[in-house]
Symmetry: C3
Subunit: 357 residues, 3 copies
């Protein structure tokens, strides 16, 4: 067993609601193989994907009356991890499997993989854009074979846009502009402002979608906000130059929020939920689709870099990487992660001592 590399007593995005329909849905999260299904009230629930009878994956079965039926010998598993029934069997003594707190909120399915007695749905982050008619949202999901912290580094240092996304959102001025990193409460904020530059293709399109001229100089901004365990919201936008930049009135700017939820599958692979929330033309589904397609193509460019970077780091485990100013956001985020993992481990050790007294 490797050292723990992700917090467990926290909420991760596990899925989008459309992924969990009338069939059991298997997904590994934080090293645990899970099966999700909808109970009789259509609420999403999750248990280990392991039938206590003979170890078959419960996800190969089916859902009936809100119970998960094993596809091998018909054991009926309840959402609480207790066997409800099995033909011709008394099931009271059957061993339980683990069940997990799951909440459907803000257009996502959230899971708490750690100590279930600590699961508190008031800790699920507020997402103002997710529940307002003034905002539109489109997104997607990528599976990437890398440590989730490499994805955090990637998103907290947008310098890479100049190189990885040269044809869409990248531009020379990004890595020529300094970044500033600071803590705002429990949030790491890395910001970069580029004044009086030409908008790259993605932002030209966004200007047009806002009925703004796309061939004039703009002020551009990127404000990355990391919060535990691995959520990153990035305010991005452009305003016609000299109109106030980030603070310009809506009539002069195009802006949106890049949404990133990074969920560890294993130590070296992730489920990456990405998307974009915008407060212009929120009901325009064609625009949503166009942005989603464009963003999906851009984010796909990161996949090979991240997976090959991961392979290199595994091949040279002893090498320490540089921590430059542009890396400060990722460095701060990793520090917060390490701290909370240590707290979890200390609490867990103390709980064991308590049990033994």
């Amino acid at each position: 067993m490797d050292a723990q590399t992700y917090p467990l007593n926290t909420w991760y995005v596990a899925a989008t609601p459309d992924e969990i329909a009338d069939k059991p849905f298997a997904r590994q999260i934080c090293g645990v193989k899970l099966v999700f299904f909808r109970n009789q009230q259509q609420r999403v629930v999750a248990v280990e994907d392991f039938c206590p009878h003979r170890g078959a994956p419960l996800s190969l079965g089916f859902v009936e009356n809100g119970q998960l039926v094993c596809g091998y010998h018909g054991l009926r598993m309840g959402e609480d991890g207790k066997t409800q029934s099995m033909p011709n069997q008394r099931v009271a003594h059957f061993p339980c499997i683990k069940h997990f707190a799951v909440v459907e909120r803000h257009g996502f399915v959230w899971i708490w993989p750690g100590d279930q007695s600590l699961a508190d749905d008031s800790l699920i982050p507020e997402l103002h854009w997710a529940n307002s008619p003034d905002w539109g949202y489109g997104g997607g999901l990528y599976h990437i074979k890398c440590d989730y912290r490499l994805m955090i580094d990637n998103l907290m240092d947008l310098t890479h846009e100049t190189y990885v996304h040269a044809s869409s959102i990248g531009q020379k001025e990004i890595d020529e502009s300094p970044v500033a990193t600071k803590m705002e409460g429990q949030t790491v904020v890395t910001s970069r402002y580029m004044d009086n530059v030409m908008a790259p293709p993605f932002w030209q399109a966004a200007l047009r979608a806002n009925d703004l001229a796309d061939d004039v100089a703009v002020d551009r901004w990127q404000i990355c906000r990391f919060s535990l365990p691995s959520h990153i919201m990035i305010e991005v936008g452009v305003a016609h130059a000299g109109k106030g930049g980030y603070d310009a009135p809506d009539s002069h700017k195009a802006s949106s929020i890049v949404v990133d939820f990074i969920t560890p599958e294993t130590e070296h692979s992730i489920w990456y939920f990405w998307g974009m929330a915008r407060d212009f033309k929120p009901q325009d589904q064609t625009l949503t689709d166009t942005i989603q397609k464009g963003q999906g193509a851009i984010f796909a460019e990161d996949l090979e870099v991240l997976e090959r970077q991961q392979q290199n780091l595994l091949a040279y485990p002893e090498r320490s990487l540089l921590k430059l100013d542009i890396d400060a956001g990722g460095v701060q985020a990793r520090r917060m992660i390490e701290r909370v993992i240590k707290q979890e481990q200390a609490a867990s050790a103390q709980a064991k001592v308590g049990e033994n007294q």
Copy 2:
């Protein structure tokens, strides 16, 4: 090296005779890479698939005059594992490779992978249906990535038909009917009788093939017989209800024997020889083909369950599985297997002590 998980001093089905024609045939059995070929008398023989000259697989070569010729440098291997000749070389001092007792009988090629001095072909099981004009047989071979004992469990507990084979041979009454498990000499017998039920699609077709009405109630039976090391014969059938069930005269029933020979390839993979022997219309090749196709499709439904079950068990090695009444056949079979493995190991240890005295 893992602990020994299969008996070695016993006969396994290695192949069907048609698989071994004029070319060398490679197959790994019980962890040993073997090459089979036909000697000058057209008898199937087997040696290790390893040329004593430079280690090339002999199966890449060819057969000439009943000798196996290495395809790399022309070494000629005899069926006794001794090099017969090599161009321009004296071969008397060449190291031998292992050769294995092989017998072609009952339409199968049998191999004894263990101590060759103990190989006794009178221990090959009698298969009355294999050598009688009153019986027809069709079958096939599947490679499955699971411990051979999971396949034994599967076949000794047909409750799974209700779930895995719902559209062909499964029916609700299977898992509603109790099973009985007992020992008959060296055979584990698990039986289940379902009276006055409707025949599922597979058996409706069998009734029609016996010129019997397929839309009336039937008595159905399943009698699974396990014998060492991993042979399972299952008497299955239906009779028009009230005509005597299993003991009904032939004119009122359709019955057959499901034939299962399970041969370990490695600790976690098998060669699964399946088939069906029937004593009605034995010469009807079209019927044989239809049954084979149907059975092949049904048995293919088990593959994913078994392989995913195996993966789950490897991921959670510490979890103990339930042993319910429906599992009693598999449990008893595993007990017999464990006992014979222990006997083999004790005999082997004693033999070593004898050598050292």
Copy 3:
């Protein structure tokens, strides 16, 4: 870490010049992941494929003004393994990565993977056929999953042609003719002469290309020359019988040199650069292409044998192989290799002692 199995302080063929154009070129050699590129003078250079900033492979980037630019965040790597610049950063303190001596010569790119202070390009072998208008050359590259020494064995014992290449260059008389192996300075020479035989198809074509009758008896020869670390040149040819064989005048013979450079990728995989140099019709590109195509097909026949042989040897690591007279070339070559590896290790140990005093 396995024991060292290949010399490091020596020149290997890393690539052909056409492989390294305007983009970075990744290749693993002797266990090291390398990236090759052309510097401002268009000279090929090589450094580790690992960006000192965040570990991304430099080969995913691009080359600009003879510098390698990382495709993730724009670090510019020099051919000396020192970071030249990075936008908005001071790079003087950045850790260096290893750089490697690389020389383009004789139509190949050579690399010295070991101690760079010992790299001496006068040690690159002379290849008289590579720099003369009297000679034509065509070749190719195969990736094979085997220990490089198995390829050496293969080429130093052409007995296998009778079996592996039966339809092209093999003939019965090869393995009926004795071989002689001797040392000539630092070269292992294995030779075989077959007098008064019929030419196999490949050599019939070569005779026709030399405007010689292809349907008369010939004297055939094969003279294999191994030199460290893993270069094998094979003089092969046929002369009309009785005209002097190997020493016959050019007007009666067809001959050429089979060129083999074997470069370890890892302990169990190789880059195999093969080709043929001929001193007849050297400028005839159609003939070059025909020979290359034929030789490529012949050498492809070795791939499966070598890879399967490697798998067998890994499965039975304790078995010792036979060392017959036909194997003497490979045996001698392996002895030379072992000796030079021991020398390298002794020198390396001594250097460490020196450092500590």
